[in-house]
Symmetry: none
Subunit: 144 residues, 4 copies
């Protein structure tokens, strides 16, 4: 199951509105359940460097079925996943990437946001995710 | 000067409408005058392989200030630009990429479309470009 | 919808048996509907260079919903898709990659085979595909 | 000397059985003594991000003739191999990659496993390795 373009656009609009509300300028990426880009926007004035980061955050969240920031907690020096960001053509492991889960508990994609502090990035990603996603990622988000 | 997010979205909407009218499903990418991704959409059911091609067509058109297909005419075996697609991390040199020029003749970005025949790709790219671009690319589209 | 590991293994076994029957040694790759590797085997003595080619053939067939060889017909010098192989981190556009379609006409993955002549590659890919795929690729193989 | 396809498949089966026993879903990769992919499987529901990690763990273990986790101990900040993961198109230096040694003490390949905690990954890799490998990696695993 993949996120549809209508769902993706609703998430982009909600995230953009949140970004404006907190006076930030963001790159916002939506990927499908295969980690493939579905919809992307770069607000006027957003950092160029955030294009790739937002897409990689979305791919990271999709690839492991967890928030990008959770992987960052495990990949610090001395941590069990130290160096994991060297896989998959580059992961981004700080907050701002969130899986999108449908009402049946199936992963249908992910959102990635970059352009401000990681707290703001995460806030904007949540605003986008919550309009099309159930609240929590289940233990078993994938279905074949 | 860069294409704004409002202009980019107007181009995406016009291109999407044209794609629906001719019963195709497209990936549509808008880049700014620096060749950086500004806005992207993948219509439901569009080819996965067209994500990268649409973005590369837009970058190709922006990078040389001409339609992507014009470069393809010059890069055939025996032609003056044979092999140019190996540069810039991969160009796409068949039709579907068009520069976007503002009313003062300045390049502000480009649109790239992929998902059907190259004739359809070009048609949809034109539908997107013409709502925000003047008709022709001038001899000197860049301003520093 | 994705090919399951049981389906993927059945295709690998059928393709391997065909490869032995015609006295060839092949690399055989199965990807899911997102183009992601699901199952892979390299028969003893198969070319090292065929590892990447078999995977890229499967990804190419999946990315465009058609046999890899069909794209090759369109991407010759002077053809409409000349140079397309520079996209998507490298396509392989000669025969040996075939989409896998389920009984409802939905693309669930693809098989890619490399290790002998393209005729033999295609023959082995067909032997693998036909145990889990309907005969023809429909006009509209994707579902969101 | 290289691992044969029969040995590789026996290792995959043993590792898959262990993964099921501990209720995990894994990507499992076998490379030959040249670090080239021989056999790969992604269990239904395994993380997409684990495809690349499992292959890189196997390549890492093969490339240095030691468990991937041993390299991770040496590549922490301040350690002698700090940053080694930037080489060889990306190493993965946490547990889950194990060299495969034949009865004469020769390196014939490696196994890499990803999909759960690193403890589980290592456990499953061991289950796969031990059916075709002697217990320990000798000081001098390579023969020219």
């Amino acid at each position: 199951m993949h996120v549809t373009i209508d769902e993706a656009e609703r998430a982009i609009v909600a995230a953009t509105n949140k970004a404006k509300e907190i006076k930030t300028r963001m790159c916002i990426a939506i990927v499908d359940s295969g980690g493939q880009l579905k919809r992307f926007t770069r607000m006027d004035g957003a950092w160029l460097g955030s294009i790739d980061i937002s897409i990689k955050k979305a791919k990271t969240a999709c690839s492991f079925g967890m928030n990008s920031g959770q992987i960052g907690e495990l990949s610090q020096p001395g941590g069990p996943l130290y160096g994991i960001e060297h896989s998959n053509n580059g992961l981004i492991t700080f907050p701002g990437g969130i899986p999108i889960i449908d009402s049946e508990g199936v992963l249908i994609g992910a959102i990635g946001v970059s352009g401000s502090s990681v707290e703001n990035d995460q806030l904007v990603a949540q605003a986008g995710a919550e309009v099309i996603s159930i609240a929590d990622v289940p233990d078993d988000p994938w279905r074949t």
